[in-house]
Amino acid sequence: MTRGSDTLEPWEVFRQEKPGDPMRHGGSVLAPDPELAMHYARELYGRRQESVRLWVVRRADILDLDDPDLLQPPLDRSFKKPGGYVMREKLAAAREAAGQAKPKPRAARKVTPT
């Protein structure tokens, strides 16, 4: 009795290139069970010693969200990013009021002999 090729299902493979790295999506394999999925993943994503860890996840178990209304809302969210704060002119005005010169860049100070 065979299970037939319709029992094969896709498994997503994630791999870590070296300790401490994030797990990155590598690709997928088609397998009838987790054990074979892991064997295929090792063969296709670890054969060349390019991984120190592999994760294999049943594709059907992955929850997917790509709704732009939720993830990329068309609102000004610049206050959440460093680039959202532009203070060059205000800073210049503050220095002038305080009678202070603009500090030298840090790198330039480092090479100055003491």
């Binding site: 009795m1 065979t2 299970r3 037939g4 090729s5 029992t7 094969l8 896709p10 999506h25 590598g26 690709g27 997928s28 394999v29 088609l30 009838p32 074979l36 063969e43 296709l44 054969r47 060349r48 997917d64 790509d66 732009p68 209304d69």
Partner: protein, 313 residues
Amino acid sequence: MTGGPVTEQPSEDAVLARFEAFVAEGGKVEAGDDMPDAYRSAVLRFVEMHANSELMGVLPERDWLMRAPTLRRKLALTAKIQDEVGHAQLLYRVAEDLGKSREAMVDDLLAGRTKFHNVFHYPTRSWADVGIIAWLVDAAAIVAQQALRDSSYAPYARTMRKICWEESVHIMHGRDIVVTMATGTTNQRDQIQEALDRWWGPLMQMHGPRTPRERDLDLRWRIKAKSSEELRQEFLTIYVPRIRELGLTIPDPVLRFDDDAGTWIYTEPDWDELRRVVTNHGPMSEERLAFRRSARAETAWVRETILAAPQAA
């Protein structure tokens, strides 16, 4: 694909136009996304042909496994063959997600309903051919494959990044064989020159005839990034100097770089030969397909075992 909810049913043309604008701006398509049927079949056809070529491409090299001159060469060739079969598996996986089973793809390949690359329809006459194939056939392929790392079909693009990394090792392996023989005995030098003479024609045909950009749907949909002529020119620019520095003669008296036009001038490749060969009328087409058919029959028990219902304990 993004785009937000569709409130009314737009016409098929409107959907296609919107999709074309999306990919033209660099939009990427994932396996589960909506995509026009025409795009889906074009990507499938492209990836399937690529997968077939990886699978069939190991057969000429397989012939030399037991005749490799040293153990190290044998290990390297074995690893290359393993890589190429691995590429076939990665690519069939990408194609499967577009809706065609691996079973059906192998059926079509073995029945001659789908194609594989011209260069894999020819015999290998000597060990020098193995070097020329690994160096120059893989080089011509990698020029094309690098341009696929930014394909609009994202799962293919990601797979190509992995494949290109592996192919770069094959090129070094091939170049090392060629350089070794080019600095060897007179007999070895002659064999390398003869191999180059044999393979130059198929190499120049490999990227296919020039097609007008506007008529090439694979280009318009960004499935691929470069036309066949752009790829051939790029291949010549990189590899002609590397071939010539070894003292080898490229068997094309017309071949030269035209400074004014900024392009390589070459003898027109034999497009009739290309058409004959890729429709399985090449010198080794039938033999290689027959070998695949018998290998498939011999390994049927493996697939049946894997798909067999687990035994009750």
